[in-house]
Amino acid sequence: MTSGPAEIFDLGYHGYEGERTGRWARRGAIWRDGIRISLGLGRGVGAKVAPWLLLGLALVPMVVLVVVAAFVGPATNPDDFELPSYGDYYEWAMVPLALFAAVVAPLLICPDRRDGVLSLYAARPITPLDYVGARWAAFGTVLLGAAWAPEAVLFVWNALDAEQPGTFLADNWDVVPRFLAAGAVVSAVLTTLALFVSSFATRRAYATVAMLAVVFIGSAIGGIAENDFSGGGADAVSLVSLPQSLVDSVHWIFGDELDRPVSGGVALLWLLGLTVVLAGWLVRRTNRLVRG
């Protein structure tokens, strides 16, 4: 039994008289929702499997390599075991990152279209640009984390493993902006492409298949153009292999010298141009979808 005095609670309707947030807070709410969707937070176990598996595939190999380097490396000949370079790691990580974009990004747009939720966004104090921009930023943030984390692990390990970490940091400080920039490029390109493709589908599966088709068919065409043809036209066509173009761009950002038909700088310009065009198209399309 309670010992305090009895109280009568007023359970009638009460209006809201507190503060109201501004536009950035409202965008932030959409961004947080996008992060939760991307990672399956607040949803069932099934919604968590794909994102965490793919993010793990991007991150865990680097962690394993560093652990191996820490425990096995000292006992082996340095020529037998070597950690990948910052640029080389993307040649592995590009696959899980692209798969992550193909499988998870559609969740940020397709269900809203399929379930008719866009009409509710339309009636809220946000614009279509707020909506798609916040969704883009949310998925980009997750992808950025997935791209940066392994590079950060590698950088920290290299610093700790150096005979004089202070000297290492002084000599290699430029690696940090480079891996930040490389991750930003990979994240921006994959996010924009995946959301753009997703905006044409109401079902996640269709968007995923379409995204994979763009990546794999582009890779096949680019590979054929690079291996079986020569000349400027073939070199230009080889750029449609987006994963390869991304890897070339990343190597260029890290200053790696590779024997490629098209320079990494050109590939980077092509990707940035493509991203801007697709982003503009995505905004226009979202504007039409949201306003019905």
Binding site: Y13, R20, G22, R124, I126
Partner: protein, 308 residues
């Protein structure tokens, strides 16, 4: 000040003129936007929500042009007719999210979500995924999400669509409560005259993009001078007796109607029923119905709430 004001509002889609120079005002309370399919109801709502640009004229919400800024929508709620609820999210989470993107801080959004769900009768079910809800529950969540940020006015597009008679009655009672106890003005877009008669204080009637009538619902359903009499037995004898007394009843089965009745006619009717041995079942003045609006001369506006 009127909450909503349409002034010479015109909107065309290709060759179709959805709204044709419509002017009306909507004040506080519950208002029905009544009309058949293609009357211009949804176009009007979209214009007030700022989702469409008018070809000419203006749509004002709370004294501001609907297209001027999305900020006005912090004080406006909207529940569309079609499905609009994500299936794999709980009602509590969804409403809190809708509140946040409408301008409420996180903590207040969660509290408001639970509170509003309690008021619409879904408190116990608030953590269930909405994909498992019945049609009636989904309609309640649609209403709740339109109210969760405590708007000044909420637009409800066909709020009783898909509901059985009991669910429809409960939804209309809920809407009456929102308009009364909650103090939130409501605009119901519907083609169901019964919904307007039951739930609304005033009505704006659209027909093929034109304003047909506007005014208080009570003005459309007021008593007439026609008396309706329903008898279980002796209708023919009563009708004959009334004719002998100089009245002109119209007989339709067990039902009699008398036009332009006076106080004396009631006494005459009583006497005739007694003399003829009739068994009276119902006696009441006939009322106008909103259906009459569509059969009367068009473009009339009630004097009480005439649009400018």
């Amino acid at each position: 000040m009127a909450l909503l004001r349409a002034h010479e509002l015109t909107k065309t889609f290709g060759s179709v003129r959805a709204l044709d120079g419509v002017s009306f005002e909507i004040d506080e309370g519950i208002t029905g936007l009544l009309g058949s399919n293609g009357a211009g109801k949804s176009t009007s709502l979209k214009l007030f929500l700022g989702l469409l640009d008018p070809d000419s004229g203006s749509a004002e919400v709370l004294g501001r042009d609907a297209r001027s800024s999305s900020e006005v929508r912090t004080r406006v709620g909207y529940a569309p007719e079609h499905d609009c609820l994500p299936r794999n999210v709980s009602a509590a989470e969804f409403l809190a999210y809708m509140a946040r993107i409408s301008g409420l801080p996180s903590t207040a959004a969660r509290l408001r979500a639970s509170d509003v769900l309690r008021h619409v009768g879904l408190f116990e079910e608030r953590y269930r995924q909405m994909g498992t809800y019945s049609t009636g529950m989904k309609q309640r969540v649609k209403l709740a999400q339109a109210l969760v940020h405590d708007p000044v006015i909420a637009f409800l597009d066909e709020p009783t669509a898909g509901l059985d008679p009991l669910g429809r009655r409960e939804m209309l009672e809920l809407i009456r409560r929102v308009g009364g106890d909650f103090g939130i003005s409501i605009v119901i877009s519907t083609h169901l005259m019964g919904d307007v008669e039951r739930a609304c204080d005033s009505v704006v009637v659209l027909d093929a993009g034109r304003l047909l009538r506007t005014g208080a619902v009570s003005g459309f359903t007021e008593e007439t001078e026609t008396l309706e009499v329903e008898l279980l037995e002796g209708a023919d004898a009563v009708a004959e007796g009334l004719r002998r007394r100089g009245l002109a009843p119209a007989l339709d089965g067990r039902r009699l109607t008398l036009e332009a009745v006076t106080g004396d006619d009631y006494d005459t009717l009583r006497d005739v029923i007694v003399d003829a041995g009739g068994v009276l079942y119902r006696l009441a003045p006939a009322r106008h119905s909103l259906a009459d609006v569509f059969t009367r001369e068009p473009a009339q506006t009630s004097e009480a709430e005439a649009a400018p």
